[in-house]
């Protein structure tokens, strides 16, 4: 029996924040009470890829057990209730009143506490990061806390009997590795990115979606881990306004100021 654990996060859909709320937003960010709750994009891909791994193990005649683990999901029943029907064996919500925004170590620590409290997983998957504002650091800390090797930005996982072939993005392209379990893998722009959807009948037939709510004591960071170096990525967006009178003015502007500069 293989044990797969996928860590995911339910987030607010920032595309739906009212412009007026952006304008009025204080230090705590805009009012999000009325915006839709969705799965983080990469986390959705992580869940689907975890299910694909489970399917692949089943095809090899190997049983696999999939736990979906999240921390303080908030309003999310509409998302979680279908998990059992698509093949998630256990859905666990770690509950806490603490504000864990911008605390990747403490988040990872809470996840690690839960994982280490049970039978050790063979594969741990997590989304590369959870926008907005995600640091992408949670899975990296988690790998350290669990003592697992970490493959970043995986786009597909293909299990075999004795290892798992992982394709993942590196600066120079796509790298294929054969990983022995156990390991942790962050899912990036994966080949499959949307979570499968059950039919209403499948949902009815599935075991009742017992979602476990587990009180989590957030102890603070486990300490001992310091990033070797931290650097702000140099990313900027520039904005140019073309104030021409007609399309040919705009085209000339685009050519002179953007295309020509890029070509030269």
């Amino acid at each position: 029996m293989k044990r797969i654990c996928v860590c995911f996060k339910v987030v607010d859909d920032f595309d739906e924040v009212l412009p007026s709320d952006w304008d009025e937003a204080g230090g705590d960010g805009p009012d999000l009470a009325y915006v839709r709750r969705i799965l983080g994009d990469f986390d959705e891909a992580a869940l689907e890829n975890a299910l694909l791994v489970k399917d692949a193990y089943r095809a090899l005649g190997i049983g696999a057990d999939l736990t979906a683990l999240t921390l303080a999901p908030g309003y999310a029943d509409h998302i979680l209730r279908n998990f059992a029907a698509v093949g998630v064996d256990r859905t666990v919500c770690l509950e806490t009143q603490e504000d864990l925004r911008f605390s990747p170590e403490r988040t990872a620590s809470a996840l690690a506490d839960f994982i280490l409290g049970g039978p050790p997983p063979d594969i741990v998957l997590a989304g590369l990061m959870t926008p907005p504002g995600g640091s992408g650091a949670v899975p990296l800390f988690l790998a350290e806390y669990l003592g697992l090797p970490c493959v970043t930005e995986a786009i597909s996982l293909t299990p075999a009997r004795d290892c798992v072939a992982v394709e993942h993005r590196v600066d120079s392209g796509i790298c294929r590795r054969e990983m022995l379990t156990a390991f942790l893998c962050t899912i990036g722009n994966a080949r499959r990115s949307y979570l499968r959807v059950p039919t209403l009948r499948e949902a009815l037939r599935a075991p009742a979606p017992a979602i476990e709510h587990v009180e989590s004591k957030i102890a603070g960071s486990r300490g001992g881990l310091k990033p070797l170096s931290v650097r702000r990525e140099d990313r900027r967006r520039d904005c140019l306004f073309s104030e021409g009178a007609d399309a040919s003015d705009h085209a000339a502007f685009l050519y002179e100021r953007v295309i020509k500069e890029a070509l030269l």
Partner: protein
């Protein structure tokens, strides 16, 4: 020479080469939304393709084209915005051309003394509304497809808008129109405030779905626009039935909200997400428009009615959120993201709108919600909302998603769903199987049951106006 070459050759001679598109790739623009989605996601190739598309720039060109088609038994599908959802634009044989009225997109006249605007059929409604708003007026017609649809198509489908409870559907707005008959003869119905000269001939064109005439120009009412004075109120009610009772009370007491919407939990969670509902709870909201005094007065009364049904007032944020996102679906149609999601999940989202008297609408909703998941195994989601209310009843807009096993059979699953809803609705004496999307080819098979003994009138109209059955065969009226 094949029929395609001959038709393209003849029409090129009659209209000039710039008016004809016959290249297979370019003609993809003629595919209805669902076919386009399937084609992109799964490489699906529709069984029949049009011979060509005529880009009609004037009523005269429409007339020449229709005369040619009439003489040569070529079938014609009229189109403008191509946003229709009931397979109105599906090509079902190999002798069909499209007449695309989108080049006829001129706003002919804005007459603020008589409060009407005249626009050609291809005028995008969004452009017209924007133009009117700039001067402090509104059409009062805002379908969710506002960013896509054009005036000709809206009239031809008897469409309705999100503010219809105050302004009415398009049939309440059209004062006059110009059209071309299938034999090429132009006709005009002069716009007047009211006319008692026999049956209302506007209604031959309104809702005719391209099966009777080609509409070239429409004159519709306009209204003074007071967006800053709008009253809004959002509420959570115990369940959908209680919401229906509250909405009915607002309507029958004579208040005039512009938007009246009542969502069940499935619909809120799936599509909207702005209100966190528990168990059976439903989300309901109202807006009131009009000059100073009116919104406050009607709003205050509506608020009291809502509270008397045990509703929890949740302010206006969720309503503002609806305004922000109400037409967003149009931005996702045709995007790469949409196709990828469709390909990976095989889930196709669609909607179906029906309507009934107050006495039966709740039962219809309950029966549909109970039975449809049993008879349609492909259903992955089913919810509904009320969006257009009247003195005597309201609509339910079913929102559903189907998981298609095989893209080639997807259409069949959708048609089965539509049929299953019709089966439910047609059992009720005060109900109709179609509220505002039109019949198209999807519900044409049920139109006889829908109209009952009056179906013969529709047949007679079709027979006398379009004896050769060249106008959108199979749409509105089934073949055979």
């Amino acid at each position: 020479m094949g029929l395609k070459e001959k038709t393209v050759g003849d029409l090129t001679e009659i209209l000039g080469p710039e008016s004809i598109i016959s290249d297979d790739g370019a003609m993809r623009i003629a595919d209805p939304i669902m076919v386009r989605t399937y084609a992109k996601a799964f490489g699906y190739v529709p069984e029949h393709r049009p011979l060509c598309i005529v880009k009609a720039a004037s009523a005269e060109q429409v007339s020449k084209t229709l005369r040619y088609c009439s003489d040569n038994d070529i079938h014609v599908i009229a189109r403008t915005g191509a946003s229709s959802s009931e397979d109105q634009l599906l090509v079902i044989d190999d002798r069909t051309i499209f007449i695309d009225g989108s080049p006829m997109n001129r706003i002919v006249d804005i007459d603020t003394e008589n409060m009407v605007v005249t626009a050609q059929c291809g005028t995008p409604i969004a452009a017209l509304e924007e133009r009117l708003n700039a001067d402090g007026y509104t059409l009062g017609h805002a379908p969710q497809s506002l960013p896509l649809a054009s005036m000709g198509g809206l009239v031809a489908t008897r469409s309705t808008g999100q503010f219809s409870t105050y302004y009415g559907g398009i049939e309440d707005l059209v004062c006059g129109l110009e059209a071309v008959l299938p034999n090429g003869e132009p006709i005009a119905i002069r716009p007047v405030p009211r006319r008692a000269a026999g049956p209302d001939l506007r209604h031959i064109a309104i809702g005719s779905e391209g099966a009777l005439v080609f509409i070239t120009e429409v004159t519709v009412k306009i209204f003074k626009w007071y967006p800053d004075l709008m009253w809004k109120g959002g509420y959570i009610v115990e369940n959908f039935k209680t919401g229906l009772a509250a909405v009915r009370d607002v309507m029958v007491k004579g208040y005039k909200p512009s938007v009246v919407r009542l969502y069940d939990k499935a619909d809120v969670d799936h599509n909207y997400g702005s209100v966190k509902l528990k168990n059976e709870e439903a989300f309901m909201f109202f807006t009131v428009e009009g000059p100073g005094g009116v919104p406050e007065a009607h709003g205050a009364a509506i608020h009291q009615i809502a509270l008397s049904y045990g509703a929890e007032h949740i302010g206006v944020k969720a309503v503002d959120h609806w305004f922000l996102t109400r037409n967003r679906i149009c931005d996702t149609i045709g995007t790469e993201k949409e196709y990828v999601k469709f390909r990976e999940t095989n889930v196709y989202n669609a909607t179906l709108e029906i309507c009934a008297n107050w006495g039966q609408i709740g039962e219809i909703y309950d029966e549909a919600m109970r039975t449809l998941p049993e008879v349609i195994p492909e259903l992955v989601m089913l919810g509904g909302h009320v969006s257009h209310s009247y003195m005597n009843g309201t609509n339910v807009y079913f929102v559903y998603a189907l998981k298609m096993g095989d893209p080639a059979s997807a259409h069949l699953a959708q048609y089965r769903f539509v049929d299953a809803v019709c089966d439910v609705v047609l059992k009720y004496s005060s109900a109709t199987i179609v509220h505002h999307h039109g019949v198209g080819k999807m519900r044409a098979g049920r139109i006889r049951e829908e109209l009952g003994s009056s179906f013969t009138l529709l047949e007679m109209l079709k027979q006398s106006i379009d004896p050769g059955n060249i106008m959108n065969p199979g749409c509105l009226i089934p073949i055979g």
